[in-house]
């Protein structure tokens, strides 16, 4: 019996076959020296130990679809200001060195997936945080994370979303890329939350957008004229492929007075939570609906009444994660659940906040009661606390069951579209692909109402066996790997294309070239922008995609159908 499945010699042999580049690549001395002059010797290194630390293995799925081919950067540099970032980017341009910005390092794009010649620009020293309570605007530096930001807002009787990506996510990076939470119900889309921007362009220039173009106060975005943020944030994200946003002002939102006395951190690990000390002003409530149709119609009607602060349906197994003591406990409990249980379990999780007053909350609860009566909804016992959405978003808990996880679809469209898409995905997964992943038993994913029902969001997550998907592991299972990739890269895309649920995880799962032709050939515009502003592909290549690199680097991760799509897609 081996101590563990990795023996150094086996791994070395495998890696030497898989890697197309030398693992360590040194940057030109001149580049290092010039960057050192910018930040000081304390904040730059090319020591191998440090570089190795920044060599990630990706975010679940990617570590495998990219064959775990993450390389260490050639230089790590930690600038302290936008000006320093701009100088670094200019130096990279001068020496033709690709670079990638990293805020939290929490996601795939924080690591140089394909290339050992990248300069990693670690933004975590940029920790500016100011709040204008009266006008509900916060100004942040690139390093600030959600957990801290949410606490800070509450100290001013304000609040903000905490993203599904977790408290570890940096606010700016997440706003520029995704920014989804059940609280989008009232707080709107991420791009609408961003106000003024300070942006280091791929060419190393500093550009502003919003009221920062005309003064020092970042109280508004939009303009002057078109909003330059439009270059930076679409549905898919550039993932650092269009320069670096180093500073941003953001909306923050009205909340309860004395919020930190109403939401109090309590508990000893692992049972920590924000305890609700006034359930007349804030409550989560879970409602069990008799069937799927009732649940769907209920959320539509509730959204129309504009009550509540969040309306969301979470995957059933999240509840099992929440109550499980450990991985083994989870599996013991989850194994006892069958498809019929899932098909008959329809839980809506709702948040009510008495922003105005106790009377306002009473009113909303009455309306909610009316709606539940109409649709047969029954209130279930719900803890008067929050563990997952207000300050601590424990997205890392998603890794508990299988140590590997990925969201393959993040779709924002109408409620009926997300309903249908979730149903199809749940059904297809359980019927044809269940052996590749944690069995979800037909669950239709996580969805929620956004913007008072004007739109909706669906996220469909997968949890794969960390070993079956790792080509370095002796347990690597190429059949499951390929089938699972087919699901993630083709089937999900096909469903998304069929139903119209546009998927904002497209960039690193499916490749924009695979998706683009189905969505007005947007890839042509992505190309045009990239060719204009970063023609040498220095800003975090190959984000959001680089077809040549993808085809080369993913020999058996790139399925035939996808290759043909990529080769056929029109270029700009």
């Amino acid at each position: 019996m081996t101590t563990h499945y990795i023996l150094e010699t086996e791994v070395k042999e495998k890696l030497s076959q898989m890697r197309r580049n030398p693992y360590w690549q040194e940057a030109p001395d001149g580049a290092f020296k010039e960057m050192e002059e910018v930040v000081g010797s304390r904040w730059i290194t090319k020591e191998k130990v440090a570089r190795q630390a920044y060599c990630g293995r990706g975010y679940g799925f990617e570590q495998y679809s990219y064959l775990g081919l993450s390389y260490p950067p050639c230089i790590i540099v930690l600038p302290a200001s936008t000006e320093e970032v701009a100088k670094i980017v200019k130096i990279c341009n001068k020496y033709n060195l690709p670079y990638l910005p990293m805020s939290s390092g929490w996601m795939i794009t924080a690591f140089p997936r394909h290339r050992p010649d990248m300069v990693l620009i670690d933004l975590q020293r940029m920790w500016e945080w100011k709040i204008d309570r009266e006008n509900m605007v916060a100004t942040l530096g690139a390093g600030v994370r959600y957990g801290h930001h949410c606490q800070g807002c509450m100290e001013y009787d304000l609040w903000f979303i905490n993203t599904g990506g977790g408290s570890a996510s940096c606010v700016i990076a997440n706003t520029i890329n995704y920014g989804v939470s059940p609280l989008n119900y009232r707080m709107g889309n991420a791009e609408r939350r961003a106000l003024s921007l300070e942006w280091v362009t791929p060419e190393g220039e500093i550009a502003y957008s919003g009221s920062w173009t005309q003064g020092e106060e970042g109280f508004w975005g939009d303009g002057p004229g078109p909003n330059l943020m439009g270059m930076l944030r679409g549905l898919d994200s550039w993932n650092g492929g269009m320069g670096i946003v180093t500073r941003m002002s953001l909306k923050v939102f009205p909340f309860l007075e004395n919020a930190t006395k109403v939401l109090v951190p309590e508990g000893i690990t692992p049972d920590t939570h924000l305890s609700f000390k006034d359930t007349d002003r804030i409550r989560w409530i879970n409602f069990q609906l008799p069937d799927r149709k009732s649940m769907e119609e209920c959320i539509i009607e509730a959204s129309h009444t504009q009550i509540g602060a969040a309306w969301t349906k979470v995957p059933v197994f999240w509840r099992y994660i929440a109550i499980a003591k450990d991985k083994e406990d989870f599996w013991e409990k989850w194994s006892g659940v069958n498809k019929e249980d899932i098909d008959n379990f329809h839980l809506l999780r709702t948040l009510f906040v008495g922003y105005t007053s106790k009377k306002q909350m009473e009113y909303e609860l009455k309306v909610c009661e009316d709606i539940m009566k109409k649709y047969g909804g029954k209130e279930r016992r719900t803890r008067p606390s929050d563990e997952s959405w207000i300050k601590n978003a424990d997205a890392n808990g998603m890794y508990m069951m299988t140590n590997s996880y990925i969201s393959t679809l993040g779709g924002q469209e109408s409620l009926r579209c997300v309903f249908e898409t979730g149903k199809r995905l749940g059904d297809l997964l359980s019927r044809h692909y269940e052996e590749c992943f944690l069995p979800q038993k037909g669950d239709v994913g996580w969805w929620q109402s956004n913007d008072f029902g004007h739109s909706a969001y669906l996220e469909f997550m997968l949890y794969q066996n960390a070993d079956y998907w790792d080509p370095i592991s002796p347990f690597f299972n190429p059949e499951i790997h390929e089938k699972g990739l087919k699901w993630a890269m083709e089937v999900v895309s096909d469903v998304s294309n069929d139903t119209g649920a546009c998927n904002f995880f497209g960039a690193f799962h499916h490749g924009l070239l695979y998706k683009g032709p189905n969505w007005s050939n947007f890839q042509v515009w992505v190309d045009r922008f990239k060719n204009e502003f970063d023609p040498d592909r220095l800003s975090n290549p190959p984000a959001p995609y680089d077809p040549e690199e993808m085809i080369e680097s993913l020999p058996h991760g790139m399925l035939t159908k996808i290759r043909s799509y990529i080769r056929r897609a029109k270029r700009g």
């Binding site: 101590t3 563990h4 945080w129 942040l140 801290h148 690990t269 083994e328 406990d329 424990d394 299988t402």
Partner: protein, 470 residues
């Protein structure tokens, strides 16, 4: 590339909870970079305006770059095990020994996951020692001194119990052994006397161990596994020979060693030691509840309590484990094991003691209980990297200052020492120095760095404080 040719025939995988680094490849490869090892439990993080009070990892707060933190360290371990990184890289050694082994990352990670981060750090140090690359030169000098003289200070072994010569009633034989830490014995004899006083006042007979030596904490925390194993075997045997049922100590490090690390290195369970290990905080708290000691004197002070790592989150009993990680069944451990997540650390007894003293206004710092940051004194950092330790202790003292405390109380003499030094620095303008050092690291933090007046006046040891109050 044909993957089939590469695929090896899988063999069952053993996972043993010991200090062999190869057992932690799982940790290396499945760390998801969630940063809880950096900041602790998100539920408790403070506002961005108090950023320097939001870290759980002391080394990372000092060093900032990711190789100073656990998430980065997992990649380094992965690199070592895969052969991408050489064990004789000189920077590797320096970086590994900057870890305090405080367990902050471990407990934080385990809030959501089942990874053994502290074990990984400990095993990494052992790995370096085994490869001839560790520990640091100053650790080697210290280890030689400890092995030679049986104490941290290199003083005469026979002087360890000099404090007990007068004013203390020691029994020849008793069911309770007072295991005296090096600091209490040699540097802070008043603490040892205070423990004795508490026990004497409560009429609890206790004995001392003749020829007692160092617990070996500093040997353990630099990866000198062989030395520690020897010390563990010797000490446990000697304690059992005394026939005591309980061992009490005033030192959080001795407590950790006796209760957790000795069983760990000997691959046995704490419950099988043959005796119960208690800290004087636990023991004295129980005495108060039973009415055996009465707190009478008033202390009109705003007090904050610093949770020592060894007494708090790291103090749950050790449970050895060996089994399979079934890679073909979702990586489940078989048989199931119980995880030490820091939930049952000794957090409340010290606070109960403080609450029982009239006049004390107990204020919590931002980081407390399982979420407390290390004072900087843990591990071998103070010896090898004194500037790192000083930076961290200063930040912690400023945190106490920030919440309005006048007194910092701790239950670990070594921690007391570093706080005393820090306070001395603060009194001569060190507060501005500490602020400057943080500002150099993190640009934009203001509120926590805006308090420059010093209201902290003193540092106290818990046992000494209680002894003064009864």
């Amino acid at each position: 590339m044909e993957m089939d040719k590469i695929r090896a025939k899988p063999e069952p995988v053993i996972f043993k909870l010991d200090l062999d680094l190869r057992n932690y490849h799982w940790e290396a490869k499945t760390c998801c970079n969630c940063a809880m090892c950096k900041y602790g439990d998100w539920t408790y993080v403070p506002s961005p305006e108090e950023y320097d009070f939001s870290w759980i990892c002391p080394e990372w707060e000092w060093g900032v770059m990711d190789h100073y933190g656990t998430a980065g360290r997992t990649k380094i371990v992965g690199g070592l095990l895969a052969g991408d990184l050489a064990v004789d890289d000189p920077v590797l050694k320096e970086m590994v020994y900057r870890c305090h082994l405080c367990g902050g990352c471990d407990v934080s990670c385990k809030r959501n996951l089942d990874l053994e981060m502290l074990m990984m750090h400990e095993a990494l140090m052992v790995h370096l020692v085994n490869a001839g690359m560790g520990p640091m030169p100053r650790h080697k000098i210290l280890a030689e001194r400890i092995n030679r003289t049986g104490n941290y200070f290199g003083k005469e072994a026979k002087e360890r119990m000099a404090w007990a010569k007068e004013g203390v009633k020691v029994a020849e034989k008793a069911g309770l052994l007072y295991f005296v830490g090096c600091y209490a014995a040699y540097k802070y004899p008043t603490i040892a006397k205070s423990v004795a006083k508490i026990l004497n006042v409560a009429n609890v007979p206790f004995m001392l161990m003749e020829g007692q030596g160092c617990c070996g904490y500093k040997l353990f925390t630099v990866g000198l596994l062989e030395d520690v194993t020897t010390a563990a075997k010797h000490t446990i045997r000697k304690i059992n020979e005394l026939g005591v049922k309980q061992v009490v100590t005033e030192c959080a490090d001795c407590y950790r060693m006796l209760k957790v690390e000795y069983p760990k290195v000997l691959n046995m369970a704490t419950k099988d030691l043959g005796f119960e290990v208690l800290h004087i905080a636990e023991y004295a708290n129980q005495l108060i509840k039973e009415g055996k000691i009465k707190v009478e004197k008033e202390f009109d002070e705003k007090v904050t309590y610093h949770d020592p790592c060894g007494l708090g989150r790291l103090s749950e009993p050790w449970i050895p484990w060996e089994g399979l990680r079934d890679a073909e069944d979702w990586g489940k451990l078989k048989p199931r094991r119980e995880f030490r997540r820091g939930a049952n650390g000794c957090y409340e007894p010290p606070r109960d003691i403080l609450r029982s003293i009239p006049g004390i206004d107990l204020i919590e710092m931002r980081r407390h209980h399982f979420n407390a940051i290390c004072s900087g004194s843990c591990g071998g950092v103070r010896e090898a990297f004194p500037e790192q330790q000083a930076f961290l202790t200063d930040v912690r003292l400023r945190e106490a200052n920030y919440v309005g405390a006048e007194t910092i109380v701790t239950a670990n003499p070594r921690t007391l020492e570093v706080f005393e030094e820090s306070l001395a620095r603060m009194k001569i303008g060190g507060i501005r120095n500490s602020i400057r050092e943080v500002k150099e690291r993190f640009i934009g933090v203001e509120k926590s760095l805006g308090v420059i007046s010093l209201n902290v006046k003193r540092v106290r040891d818990l046992a000494s404080l209680l002894a003064s109050a009864i």
